[in-house]
């Protein structure tokens, strides 16, 4: 099919990447005739949908494991995947004093051990990569046993943000990208030092079923362009080192 025809491309995107993806989509659609149809959700759910035949052509996961599983199942060729972003974790919530700089990491421990903290929100460590990273931070700081009874779990990173933005949790570990994306949430936050948690590598895959589909391939190339990487950087991710 000649690429001059307007085709639609179905993309499955991990929910933490929503804001960055919207910008990528706008950029791509302004340069191309093709249209993107996006489904946002947790990586586990999108993975299950792909395995059960959902018509996605490109999958942007929040981890690398789900893409590796798709490779094992021969749904993705090894050459057709790459790490498109590395996520960063931020501590955010009403307990962070006004005017706190994002690099004021000395505050992390006193904030977490303070008595004003009743509920600390994180994404479910078992299913959400940002949740696993948040749990690793608590282990790194050796605060996990002490804080265990204060932890509340969002089913994904978006719900975790909601727990904090409604004030029901006084602090939460969210994705830095979410805070950058939402001007309404521009209250102070602290970027968690990357030494505190294993890297949150987010991998993308071009599914085998789509590898001869010109429109999907053109978006796949766009994703790897410097222009796309620049947009990803601006959204609070570090651009990936290779996996």
């Amino acid at each position: 099919m000649p690429f001059t025809y307007a085709d639609t491309i179905h993309v499955a995107v991990a929910s933490n990447f929503t804001a960055a993806f919207e910008q990528l989509k706008t950029q791509f659609e302004s340069e191309s005739e093709h249209k993107l149809i996006t489904s946002y959700g947790s990586t586990g759910k999108l993975y299950a949908q792909i395995v059960h035949g959902a018509p996605f052509q490109i999958f942007l996961a929040a981890d690398t494991q789900s893409i590796e599983k798709l490779i094992e199942q021969k749904r993705v060729r090894p050459a057709n995947h790459f790490v498109y972003a590395e996520g960063q974790l931020a501590l955010w919530g009403r307990l962070i004093p006004a005017g706190t700089e994002e690099n004021n990491t000395n505050l992390i421990r006193p904030l977490l051990t303070g008595t004003s903290l009743k509920k600390l929100a994180l994404a479910n460590p078992k299913t959400a990569p940002y949740g696993f990273a948040a749990q690793s931070v608590l282990q790194h700081l050796e605060l996990l046993p002490e804080l265990n009874h204060k932890l509340v779990y969002g089913e994904n990173i978006t719900q975790t943000l909601q727990f904090v933005s409604t004030g029901n949790a006084q602090l939460g570990f969210v994705a830095l990208s979410q805070l950058i994306a939402k001007p309404t949430e521009q209250s102070p936050y602290i970027a968690v030092p990357i030494e505190f948690y294993p890297p949150i590598r987010q991998a993308a895959a071009l599914l085998d079923s789509a590898q001869d589909y010109a429109a999907a391939v053109s978006f796949w190339r766009f994703l790897q362009s410097d222009q796309a990487q620049q947009i990803i950087l601006e959204n609070g991710y570090t651009v990936a080192t290779s996996s």
Partner: protein, 228 residues
């Protein structure tokens, strides 16, 4: 059957929640259903509409507003904090309060129907025999409406047991506190642990079917009894 200790905890939590909510709903809904059955107030359609809301609203709407209303800036949140109770979201009692609203129509409506069908007559006869209203209610009305109470209790229990979206929105997935069976099944599916998900889901399906079977066979017998 693959059931982990976490699964067992979730099962007991679900049963405890459904039991507590059913008990409280029967207490609260008796006067409410009585009032709805007999009132001619202009408030009646408004109250009826509010009672029926959970039937039509998606649980996500209820959960979303619960987080706002019961949060620190919301009216319910300010009240519970002023009373020294803390905030309701992410607590067992928060689930109880949210479920009271969520399962309300399933308990109110059978009771209201029964009270309407019985009418004022039984209470009037009891009064002519010298019974005070409260006495008349407990010794005449309640036995007459027993089938409706069983229906209300069963539906309230089963519906609370099957609650998912609302708890996912405001529960915070805390083991032993807010992680009920439906949420635990969801966790298993999300973690691709389909075996565990299967065991719990099958258990839930079997149990819910059993409850409803018991209810409908009981109702079938009762209806025949009424006709003869």
């Amino acid at each position: 059957m693959q059931l982990s200790p976490d699964d067992i905890t979730a099962i007991f939590l679900s049963l405890k929640l459904a039991g507590t909510v059913t008990f409280l709903l029967l207490l609260l809904c008796t006067p409410l259903a009585w009032w709805l059955a007999h009132s001619t107030s202009i408030l009646k359609p408004i109250i009826s509409a509010f009672v029926a809301l959970p039937l039509v609203l998606p649980p996500t709407v209820l959960g979303f507003y619960f987080l706002i209303i019961a949060g620190p800036s919301g009216p319910l949140g300010s009240l519970t904090e002023a009373l020294g109770l803390g905030l309701l979201p992410f607590t067992y009692w928060g689930l109880v309060v949210a479920s009271l609203f969520y399962s309300l129509p399933f308990v109110v409506q059978p009771l209201q129907n029964a009270f309407e069908i019985q009418g004022r007559r039984p209470m009037e006869i009891a009064a002519t025999l010298g019974a005070r209203p409260i006495d008349g209610f407990f010794s005449v009305m309640l036995p007459l409406c027993r089938p409706a109470y069983i229906t209300a209790a069963t539906l309230g229990f089963a519906h609370t047991l099957g609650e998912f979206g609302l708890i996912l929105m405001m529960g915070g997935n805390i083991p032993g506190e807010t992680r009920v069976v439906s949420v635990q099944i969801y966790n298993h599916v999300e973690a691709l642990e389909y075996g565990n998900a299967h065991s719990l889901a099958a258990l839930m399906l079997g149990f819910s079917l059993l409850i409803l079977l018991l209810l409908y066979s009981f109702q079938g017998r009762k209806l025949i009894g009424f006709k003869s």
